[in-house]
């Protein structure tokens, strides 16, 4: 009896989180006048909303921009994060504690304080309306350094000693010896970084005005806010669906990793 109640609650909960997405998807496929119906099955399927949306905004270009920007950022964060994390966890040098302290400090620093000056730096560098503005400020991040530091600490010292005897230099040690032994850390940092940059929208809105350089969230936001979508619900929702799709598909395949990664960063904070 009690069990049944639990399942009712869980099914109701799951519906609360899934139903709106399902509704969104069917709304984009339904004829315009049927949108807003509570029922999920439209009388006929039409791709009209999508064709109109593709005709109005360069969404494919934005998709490629997003993929490019997020991939470069993720790669950078993995490379630089593990270099710094390695130095902090495995090498002795003067100022190590100071640097560690600085990293912790930057993690607690709210972004509101750096937002305006960072924009001004972009203006002075002449980076406004370039990929550099989207990528370079994000190539490094404190959380990833901390996570690599933590993970490398847990690896056996023998691994590093053996590589040194073989004559490996430090970079070889990091990328050839430690990386293959740090897959969980790489996955966690990779997923969090990729997702965060994929979903970032405030910074692009500030530094990019050229439509050809816009990432997907920015383009979709301006499309919806700027009136070009007019009041056509189907077209608005179609742009949101296209924006959601890549992450949802990735989530369907790597669902466990997504949840573990995000939960582990939460726990460590």
């Amino acid at each position: 009896m009690k069990k049944a109640l639990f399942y009712i609650i869980l099914v109701f909960g799951a519906l609360m989180f899934i139903y709106p997405f399902a509704w969104m998807l069917t709304a984009t496929l339904a004829p315009e006048k049927e949108i807003g119906n509570l029922v999920l099955i439209p009388s006929s399927v039409s791709l009209n909303s999508y064709t109109q949306m593709f005709a109005k905004i360069p969404i494919t270009r934005a998709l490629l921009n997003s993929l490019f920007v997020s991939s470069v950022i993720t790669l950078g964060v993995l490379v630089f994060g593990s270099m710094v994390g390695y130095a902090l966890s495995r090498l002795e040098f003067k100022g190590r504690n100071l640097i560690f302290f600085i990293i912790i400090f930057t993690m607690t620093l709210p972004f509101q304080i750096t937002l305006i000056p960072q924009y001004i730096i972009m203006v002075k560098f002449g980076w406004v309306d370039t990929y550099l503005a989207l990528i370079v400020p994000y190539l490094m991040n404190a959380l990833s350094i901390i996570m690599f530091r933590q993970y490398f600490k847990s690896l056996p010292q023998d691994l590093i000693d053996a590589a040194r005897i073989d004559g490996c230099n430090e970079l070889t040690i990091i990328f050839r010896i430690l990386w293959p032994n740090s897959i969980p850390a790489l996955i966690t940092v990779g997923i969090i970084t990729f997702m965060a940059s994929w979903n970032e929208v405030l910074w692009p809105l500030i530094v990019i005005r050229n439509e050809d350089l816009m990432t997907m969230p920015q383009l979709v936001t301006l499309f919806v806010v700027g009136g070009r979508a007019e009041s056509q619900l189907g077209v608005r929702l179609a742009s949101a669906t296209v924006l959601a799709l890549p992450i949802i598909v990735a989530y369907l395949f790597f669902q466990k990793y997504f949840i573990q990664s995000m939960a582990s960063t939460g726990i460590k904070e």
């Binding site: 069990k3 270099m83 709210p110 509101q112 001004i120 806010v225 619900l233």
Partner: protein
């Protein structure tokens, strides 16, 4: 040998140098520059103009600034308790011996991974006054329409509701982890003593999940002060500035009016406020423990 030694000494610095450069350019300099900016009037194009304490004086007389603070407060007062209650409740149910736990967990987590832009565009439709899904349901079960986004009294609460829907999955997972760390024999011992459900929760469960609660409170507070895309898309800060958030106001001052000095002052002030609020919360919750 000598060269090797030098190399060994320099290597760590070479490895951390990218970080140091990044820190100096994108964090240290901006922080210093932002403090400098607060004493100036500047629209980026013409030269900077020293303006003394004008920006600070203006800040405390600025009704919109106070309004954005009040809006953030309204958001937090609704968002934080709602998240804790919903997350704890669903985590507790998930922690029972149920099948398909993985499926339900993944379903609750879905909005967490999706862009805030998607969630906002979707909820814009749900919140619609005449054709929105929520009002249709309300009418269907015989209640009246609610002006989710058009009524200044409840627009911010609507955004808090939406944010809860988006974020709560993460906290369900975190609470679930917390609940599973409670040793089962604690409850068995309590059962022998004849403890009530509430007593077991208050004295066994609650202390164990206290760190998670602290995290929900802190992350939600930071989230509240960082709210941007939701009001930007849904309301543009309206109606009657009732959803003007801290970051949206910084954005408007900076990039609609090009008041760089004043915008930086707002940013600095909100940043200090966030840090202060989080420190107070930490004190308060640690005392509870």
């Amino acid at each position: 040998m000598e060269i090797n030694n030098v190399k060994k000494k320099i290597t760590p610095y070479l490895l951390v140098s990218p970080y140091l450069v990044h820190f100096l350019v994108f964090i240290a300099f901006p922080v210093v520059f932002s403090i400098l900016l607060t004493f100036h009037k500047w629209n980026i194009i013409s030269p900077m103009e020293y303006s003394g304490l004008n920006n600070y004086i203006r800040l405390f007389q600025d009704k919109l600034f106070l309004r954005s603070l009040l809006n953030t407060l309204i958001f937090l007062v609704i968002h934080i308790p709602l998240q804790i209650i919903v997350a704890l409740f669903l985590a507790e149910v998930l922690n029972q011996k149920v099948k398909l736990r993985g499926f339900f967990r993944a379903a609750f987590f879905l909005p967490v991974i999706v862009s805030g832009v998607v969630v906002t565009i979707l909820w814009e439709q749900l919140f619609g006054y005449d054709t929105g899904l929520l009002n249709r349901i309300l009418i269907f079960i015989g209640l009246g329409k609610v002006g989710w986004l058009v009524d200044p009294k409840i627009a911010m609460s609507s955004i808090a509701l939406m944010a809860t829907w988006k974020n709560v999955g993460l906290y369900i997972v975190l609470f679930l982890v917390g609940l599973q760390t409670v040793p089962q024999h604690y409850y068995e011992a309590a059962d022998l003593e004849g403890a009530t459900h509430w007593q077991k929760f208050r004295h066994i469960t609650f202390p164990m999940i206290n760190p998670t609660i602290f995290m929900v409170v802190v992350l939600s507070t930071i989230g509240g002060f960082s709210l941007f895309i939701e009001p930007y898309i849904l309301t543009g800060g309206g109606p009657l500035n009732s959803t003007l958030s801290a970051v949206l106001y910084i954005y408007k001052q900076g990039f609609s009016y090009y008041h760089m000095g004043y915008s930086a002052t707002l940013g600095l002030f909100f940043a200090l406020l966030i840090v202060a609020v989080v420190i107070i919360q930490k004190r308060f919750i640690e005392k509870e423990r």
